[in-house]
């Protein structure tokens, strides 16, 4: 598959690496943008990797658009299929209270915008994906890690793609019409992506639960945020861990006291061995959380 390049006005180049979502397409986006960041020619303003695409914002008064385009195509050639690339990543654990009272209250307020007004979001998602029930669905959602394929939409919101073969991917449509409200730190789902809402606001993703872990801190008063306002990065591999209400309350109290630390470990990630044996690779990967 060859990338598709397009101008986004006079300041952006948009590059689609694949029409459909795959871990390999995302891996290429991360690998290409990492190289561009290292080689950063003068005049580059923004480098934004996304799920199966990326964009660059540049100042055409400093950097000729056609010179930049040639550079991007050269990097594409060098990265190739990205199978030989090793990415420095993190394994991150995010505790989740599924079917929590706050997202449940919110979803009940917006039943008129939902495909299945008589079910909750997670009941609907479990049913259309062929799971026997919600507990089996939660086991699948929290059973394998998720690769952070894009950070954005709003400040610090991670999109995550599950590290399982395509036939085991969960697919859930977004709401028929978006909500005007979503609690902060809601664990959501749309298409083939999980997300964590970093801030309260509008949203169209299905709501499955909530995490006590803060992932955005604009004032940088919390211990995970001394260097950055945003916790999640492209390439973070997130393991959701189901927690009960008692543990949620404990962790939430810790978060409110400004002492919550997200568990994160540095690892190297190689695509080919993962594609050869996803379950075995994930098992070894998650040992760093033990």
């Amino acid at each position: 598959m060859s990338a598709r390049y397009s101008w986004g006005g006079d300041e952006f180049v948009f590059v689609e690496l694949a029409e459909e979502m795959s871990l390999q397409a995302n891996f290429k986006a991360v690998a290409i943008t990492n190289l561009l960041r290292d080689e950063r020619p003068d005049g580059i303003l923004e480098i934004c990797p996304a799920n199966a695409s990326y964009q660059v914002r540049y100042d055409p008064d400093v950097l000729d658009p056609h010179t930049l385009l040639a550079h991007l195509k050269d990097i594409e050639t060098r990265v190739g299929d990205a199978l030989g690339v090793t990415l420095p990543c993190r394994v991150v654990e995010i505790p989740v209270l599924y079917q929590d009272p706050w997202t449940t209250e919110t979803l009940m307020r917006f039943r008129d915008r939902h495909q299945d007004p008589d079910a909750t979001d997670i009941e609907y998602a479990a049913r259309i994906n062929g799971f026997a029930g919600v507990e089996e669905f939660i086991a699948a959602h929290s059973g394998s890690p998720w690769f952070t394929s894009m950070v954005g939409f709003v400040a610090g919101l991670p999109f995550k793609y599950q590290m399982v073969p395509r036939e085991r991917q969960i697919i859930v449509p977004k709401y028929v019409r978006p909500r005007t409200d979503t609690p902060k730190q809601t664990v959501g789902y749309g298409g083939c992506f999980s997300c964590i809402y970093s801030v309260r606001g509008a949203g169209g993703y299905q709501m499955f639960g909530i995490t006590p872990a803060p992932i955005y801190d604009p004032r940088q008063t919390k211990p995970d945020f001394t260097e950055h306002k945003v916790f999640m990065r492209s390439g973070d591999m997130v393991k959701f861990r189901q927690i009960d209400r008692d543990e949620y309350d404990d962790l939430q109290a810790t978060a409110e006291a400004g002492r919550y630390r997200i568990t994160a470990r540095d690892v190297d990630f190689d695509l080919q061995p993962f594609l050869d044996d996803p379950d075995g690779y994930n098992k070894r990967l998650l040992e760093v959380l033990a």
Partner: protein, 334 residues
């Protein structure tokens, strides 16, 4: 309120907010380098008018000023200042007496500045000599409400806020932007775009509809995006790619350029502006050239809008013209 960035014992002019206006925010040239984290550039939607207002009071082009949309605030000054208003036709008044737009003037300790009704355009910029000296987040004072960044505690100004003015203002009253350097404000506008991104999702007919329709700006027009009504774009039939979603306008969630025009469901194109969501799952079919984002910024609801296709080389030529116009503005005010 926020503390001034550099504390000094000399008394500083401050501005007390008596009435905030509709949605008045502190904006500047914006921030760069955080869009990959979902943090957009923000900053004045009409950068040319911001530059004009700042130039009139002797500030740097991208100093922090108030962006006023549709309805102005009421402000009380605690000391003397030189100020100017540029952009939309929202004329200022001092203690009830009219003051001109596009011209610097003085206010004294205790003066109250408020605004007449909006006559044309949508957004005016009030610059104060010395600039507004509010919090800096990620290199900018620009307010980004969703992310609680910049401005006053990351939000629009509110009654009771006290806005500090920077020291060392070199403004003088009576400077005027010549009429040929003031942008025209119209209810019929042309916005130049570079086609591309996902425009291959449109049929020839859908593409022609996009470029031939006179679109009307809806009331959904804010710092994040401007939504237009007037037609439905025909899309090419396809088998949805994995992860894209069933609607013909869906794509695998991708990054959104500032100025990109997305068309959810094939209806009501949305021009993303400087508080854009940084990505999402709707096809974009074109991007507004950077200079014409100022034209979009001055569009009020019901503005009739044509999207006019230009190629990249033409867009770069227009960009060079705009740079010369900014240089002429600078010369006229120095």
């Amino acid at each position: 309120m926020s503390e001034p960035a550099n504390g000094s014992s000399a008394p500083r002019t401050t501005i007390e907010v008596r009435k905030p206006g509709l949605s008045t925010t502190i904006q500047d040239g914006g921030r760069s380098g955080y869009y990959h984290l979902g943090i957009p550039p923000s900053g004045a939607l009409d950068q040319y008018s911001l530059a004009a207002a700042n130039g009139l009071v002797g500030n740097d082009t991208d100093a922090a000023a108030l962006e006023i949309v549709y309805m102005g605030p009421e402000l009380a000054f605690t000391g003397p200042a030189v100020v100017a208003v540029a952009g939309a036709g929202i004329a200022p008044r001092v203690n009830g007496s009219d003051r001109p737009l596009w011209e610097s003037f003085e206010v004294a300790d205790g003066d109250v500045l408020d605004f007449d009704y909006l006559k044309d355009g949508a957004r005016a910029y009030l610059a104060v000599s010395g600039g507004l000296d509010t919090r800096v987040d990620l290199g900018s004072r620009a307010t980004y409400v969703i992310g609680s960044l910049g401005g006053v505690d990351g939000r629009p100004i509110a009654e009771g806020d006290v806005l500090p003015v920077g020291a060392g203002g070199a403004g003088r009253p009576g400077l005027v932007v010549p009429s040929d350097l003031r942008p025209a404000m119209s209810k019929d506008v042309e916005v130049r775009v570079v086609m591309g991104l996902y425009d291959h999702r449109l049929t020839d007919k859908g593409r022609a509809t996009f470029l031939d329709t006179t679109w009307t700006l809806t009331p959904v027009a804010d710092r994040m995006g401007f939504r237009y009504g007037g037609g439905e774009l025909e899309t090419v039939d396809r088998e949805p790619p994995f992860g894209a979603g069933q609607d013909p306008s869906n794509i695998v969630d991708a990054p959104y350029p500032i100025g990109s025009i997305q068309v959810p469901g094939g209806v009501e194109p949305i021009v993303l502006h400087r508080d854009a969501v940084s990505g999402g799952g709707y096809m974009m079919v074109a991007t507004v050239i950077s200079g014409d984002l100022d034209v979009v910024a001055q569009s009020a609801p019901r503005t009739r809008t044509r999207f006019v296709e230009v190629d990249l080389e033409t867009a770069l030529g227009i960009r060079a013209d705009r740079r010369r116009r900014l240089a002429a503005l600078h010369d006229a005010l120095s």
